[in-house]
């Protein structure tokens, strides 16, 4: 009898919680200002690579169609004061020049002219930070069974300066996951971690990932490519704020996150990175 009473109370409480948790949803009509379209310049310039720039047209917030790629823009690159035009490659639909290789420390300005407005942005290509080592250790599940590999990626931070990093990976057969910590200056996202070095200035840092053996690939071997990007400050802020906007766009608890934008008279990013790559076989 007593047990029944206790169960009844628990059920009543659960029902009350359910009622409170229940959120109502409905569509509402609201007029949203239209201030016309602007050029979108997405220029992420990688050291020791050819320049690649994508140009789009922005859209009204209620439009629900694919973004319009701009194929007839005039895109000019000014590298350390020297101006060069980029041409549109219809195959990849980017503006590029295969004769240009971007060098660290270069100051690069991207100047874009379109039929609906002109825009520009600026960046300085950062120096390379190498991956010191990648070690692998067998990983055991909570039950003590072997179920994968722990991967430890190490790199050394440059002391006495602000540095920003992004670590990512690529594999066709395996999907490692970051072992998330609450280290300050570390922001983890699905397939990358963004890092600001203020809490470990000048030290060696180790990032851990776990690569689980999935049933599908249990008997296969494969490769994973690890990338350490040394980012310029603009690209770090863009990546961080963009990913935060994606994560918090539905949060009622905060003001909307405004994505970092360094394009004058337009939207997008003009940022740069220097990448180190190490491939391992598992």
């Amino acid at each position: 009898m007593k047990k029944n009473k206790k169960n009844t109370i628990i059920w009543l409480f659960a029902i009350m919680l359910l009622i409170v948790s229940f959120s109502c949803e409905k569509y509402i009509d609201m007029e949203i200002t239209d201030k016309g379209r602007k050029p979108v310049v997405n220029a992420i310039l990688i050291a020791d690579s050819i320049p690649i720039v994508k140009i789009f047209q922005s859209m009204h917030i209620l439009d629900n169609k694919p973004f319009k790629k701009i194929t007839d823009a005039q895109v000019r690159l000014i590298i350390n004061g020297q101006s060069k035009m980029l041409l549109f490659d219809s195959l990849t639909e980017v503006y590029t020049d295969t004769n240009i290789i971007l060098q660290p420390f270069s100051e690069v300005t991207v100047d874009v002219q379109t039929g609906f407005g002109n825009a520009k942005g600026k960046t300085v290509i950062p120096v390379n930070i190498p991956i010191l080592s990648i070690d692998t250790v067998s990983h055991y599940s909570n039950e003590g069974n072997y179920d994968g590999v722990e991967i430890r990626l190490r790199f050394s931070d440059v002391p006495n300066e602000k540095n920003y990093y992004m670590i990512s990976f690529k594999s066709s057969t395996m999907t490692p996951t970051f072992e998330e910590t609450n280290d300050p200056g570390f922001d983890y996202f699905y397939d990358k971690v963004l890092i600001s070095d203020f809490a470990f200035d000048g030290k060696v840092k180790t990032i851990k990932l776990i690569c689980y053996r999935s049933i599908d690939y249990y008997f296969q071997t494969g490769t994973i490519e690890f990338f350490l990007f040394h980012l310029d400050e603009s690209l770090y802020k863009y990546q961080l704020s963009f990913n935060k906007q994606q994560n918090t766009s539905a949060s009622p608890f905060s003001e909307p996150v405004i994505v970092f934008n360094n394009i004058v008279n337009g939207y997008g990013i003009c940022g740069s990175a220097n990448v180190s790559k190490v491939t391992i076989n598992l």
């Binding site: 997405n42 009204h60 840092k205 608890f253």
Partner: protein, 784 residues
């Protein structure tokens, strides 16, 4: 010229000194409980002179020698009338009998014509009993939610306790519990306030025309006084509700000399929900609770000396724990993970009342107030009960104050009530300290503390004000406050003039004007719409200047309708040096100091408020309506253009009514309507490029970035809601029991909480989320 002035002063002083005038003084209290009555009227019908009791129930009335007929009255109590001959100074402590016995519905409040006669404007007192009779959210009586029903006061989000007074922010309210500032009034992320109505005696809200004795905030003063405890008998209240239970005990420690009051409350969501949580999380547990304790002791040493000690402790805690272990090769491996989030206040006040003579009353008060927020995560790995790796990250922030106030209440005659005093406060701000520790990994072990260091500051103030009856028609409350703040070798000093004028052009009609300047030396750094405990209190610095406001108010007051008092007020307020986060800044950009993340700007607000209230009879309550505008302008935000404040609310209506059908049954009704909050919505969208690894790939789909043009340019749909309650009382042999049944949001209005864009059948549409549908609640109370 100088000699003439001295001569006139000497003559005046001689006339005052040698005229045969005597002072009658004492305390007015409840005959049953001995509880002091704040704001009771003491009036001589022969000389037509009167006064009111102060916050400690003390009065002092100076009259000419001869006969006097004194009427001492307080709504809800039988008036006390005494004919007396005044030949010398008289001390007379008066006890008023309640017109209706305790444990039943007692209607207490102000004298009928008080609003019209008083020199103060924009002041409202709310009887605690009314608060207890009105419908409540989740069966929890909430003082701040009742205050939100007054004109000029707005709530933040649905169900929250934040106060936005006359266009000001939530940090601009001086909330005092027994004279001690309370920095965070929220339990459960703002859904409940920290004040337990069972322990409260009196509540006064001031929105404009601030007397000089109050300062340190721009927009309002909420002065909450705790009960002192019954001097004659032991009593208690026990209440059990949907999410919490409460117990209040009071009584004499030494009859008529000393009393105590203890009140405690705790939620039990965590206990009731534990079986569900355990079922959902195999090896872990989680929960949330809050509790608070109020206590007060008072000791009457003599007619001239009293001592009060009051204390408040309240904490909120959310936690989760996880433990896992396994055996391998004869070794036992264990992993423990703990995470916790907590915040709370500690407040204490030691007050000594001393009566120097029948005309001069004084207080010496020393107070302590601490608000602290902490969040932490800790993990440990053990092999055979020996730590092999340990990780912890803790974050603390908060503020604590030590303060001493000396104030005097001097009533030289019935035309003057002079108050003066001085205050010194030592603030310690902890704007966010991180403690980070890692041991037992392959990296270098780390044990570091970083963040913003503690900031120490002194705040000083001196004030003087006089409530002057110039003649039967004009009354003035004039004064000034000199405030000072010293922090990091930076010194700020401001003079704050205050004046209120009343013109009684008819026995039941008056018009009032007020002008006040206020300064605020502390800022609340917040980037959210609701009161999160992560909000930081920070001082002014050499870069961040003090907030300053100037407010003008005008009002027409009447009590022409019998049993009703009504008013219409207009105000205009400017606010300078208010702060906001810069665009794109947030807590996650930890690399820069907080001073670099914020920007200073200005705000202005104006509007009018209509208020009609009935305090007597079986039906009591009020109707309030506010028409208002509130703007902000920052050079670094919104391209320097002015924008509406998030809580700019054009129309705000509230109806709060209680009706007593009989001694056994009373009902309450609340209806609110408000224009929707101002919000930021994106107007444009563009493709992101976040995949650096595949730059050559020609994607068909790109993730979208939303672009915001202008802050708070859109309005949510309007908010309205009806709440009902019924209280059923029954006398038992040893106690009176009350069943309270209430319904929140009776007609199940889908009020907007937030808006977002949703894709629906190839259409992108704006969608509204609502939080609380119809919610029934109940509680059971024993009053013994």
């Amino acid at each position: 010229m100088y000699k003439s002035i001295v001569f006139i002063l000497i003559i005046t002083y001689s006339l005052v000194s040698f005229s045969q005038r005597f002072t009658i003084s004492g305390y007015v209290s409840d005959a049953k409980s001995g509880e002091k009555l704040i704001g009771a009227s003491v009036y001589d019908t022969i000389s037509k002179r009167g006064t009111i009791t102060n916050a400690y129930g003390f009065y002092s009335l100076t009259l000419n020698e001869g006969q006097a007929v004194l009427i001492i009255s307080y709504v809800g109590y039988t008036p006390y009338i005494e004919k007396t001959s005044i030949q010398t100074n008289i001390v007379k402590n008066i006890q008023l009998e309640p017109t209706i016995q305790l444990n039943e519905v007692v209607v207490v409040g102000q004298r009928e014509n008080r609003q019209v006669e008083s020199s103060q404007i924009s002041v409202t007192q709310i009887p605690v009993q009314t608060i207890k009779q009105l419908p409540v959210f989740f069966s929890e009586t909430d003082i701040l939610k009742t205050i939100q029903l007054l004109p000029g006061v707005q709530s933040g989000g649905e169900g929250t306790s934040g106060l936005y007074v006359r266009g000001g922010g939530p940090d601009q309210n001086l909330i005092l519990l027994d004279g001690v500032p309370v920095y965070n009034c929220d339990h459960l992320f703002g859904f409940f306030s920290v004040f337990n109505a069972d322990a409260i005696n009196n509540i006064t809200l001031i929105k404009g025309g601030f007397p000089a004795r109050y300062g340190g905030r721009l927009s309002s003063v909420l002065d909450i006084r705790m009960k002192e405890g019954n001097l004659n008998e032991h009593h208690g209240i026990f209440s059990i509700g949907l999410i919490s239970s409460k117990l209040m005990l009071e009584g004499p420690l030494k009859k008529k000399k000393s009393s105590y009051l203890v009140s405690a409350r705790r939620t039990y969501i965590d206990i009731l929900a534990q079986p569900i949580i355990r079922a959902a999380a195999n090896d872990g547990t989680a929960g949330y609770y809050f509790y608070d304790v109020n206590s007060k002791i008072n000791y009457i040493f003599s007619d001239t000396n009293r001592l009060y000690l009051s204390f408040y402790l309240g904490n909120d805690k959310a936690y989760s724990r996880y433990k896992d272990s396994y055996y391998d090769g004869g070794n036992r491996y264990e992993k423990k993970l703990k995470a916790a989030l907590g915040w709370g206040n500690i407040i204490s006040a030691l007050r000594w009342n001393h009566l120097f003579n029948p005309k001069l009353f004084s207080n010496v008060t020393t107070t302590f107030s601490r608000y602290r927020f902490n969040v932490g995560i800790e993990s440990k790995q053990q092999t055979n009960n020996v730590n092999t790796a340990e990780y912890s990250l803790k974050y603390f922030s908060g503020i604590h104050d030590f303060s001493t106030l000396i104030d005097f209440d001097y009533r030289p005659n019935s035309d003057h009530n002079i108050m003066f005093g001085t205050l010194v406060t030592y603030h310690t701000f902890s704007p966010g300290i991180n403690v980070f520790k890692v041991t037992g990994t392959n990296d270098d072990n780390i044990d570091t503390t970083f963040g913003n260091k503690n900031i120490y500051a002194y705040e000083l103030a001196a004030f003087i004000e006089d409530d002057i009856s110039i003649n039967a028609l004009f009354k003035v409350n004039a004064g000034f406050r000199q405030s000072m703040f010293f922090v990091r070798r930076t010194w700020y000093s401001k003079l704050e003039p205050r004046i209120s004028l009343r013109y009684l052009f008819h026995e039941q009609w008056s018009v009032k004007l007020a002008y006040s300047q206020m300064n605020q030396y502390i800022h609340l750094l917040t980037n959210s719409g609701i009161g999160l405990p992560t909000d930081l209190w920070l001082p002014v610095t050499d870069k961040i200047k003090p907030q300053h406001s100037t407010q003008y108010a005008i009002g027409l007051f009447t009590s022409v309708l019998k049993g009703f008092e009504a008013s219409i007020e207009g105000y205009y307020k400017t606010m300078n040096n208010i702060i906001e986060y810069k665009e794109g800044s947030s807590f996650f950009m930890e690399t820069s100091s907080w001073e670099d993340k914020v920007t200073m700007g200005k705000g202005w607000a104006y509007g009018s408020e209509f208020f009609i209230r009935k305090n007597k009879g079986n039906t009591t309550g009020w109707i309030g309506y506010t028409l208002s505008w509130s703007w902000r302008q920052f050079s670094d935000l919104n391209f320097g253009k002015a924008y509406p404040y998030r809580y700019d609310r054009r129309h705000d209506v509230s109806v709060a009514v209680t009706h007593k059908f009989s001694d056994r049954t009373d009902v309450g009704l609340v209806w609110v309507y408000g224009t929707g909050n101002a919000i930021s919505l994106p107007i444009e969208q563009y493709p992101a490029w976040d995949n650096i690894l595949n730059q050559h790939v020609n994607y068909e789909y790109y993730p979208t970035i939303e672009y915001y043009d202008g802050r708070n340019g859109f309005r949510m749909p309007s908010y309205h809601r009806l709440d009902l309650s019924v209280n059923m009382h029954k006398k038992r042999k040893y106690y009176t029991r009350t069943w309270s049944i209430g319904v929140y949001n009776v007609y199940n209005r889908k009020n907007p909480y937030y808006l977002y864009f949703k894709h629906d059948n190839n259409r992108k549409r704006l969608t509204q989320i609502s939080l609380f549908p119809l919610i029934p609640s109940f509680s059971y109370t024993m009053n013994f």
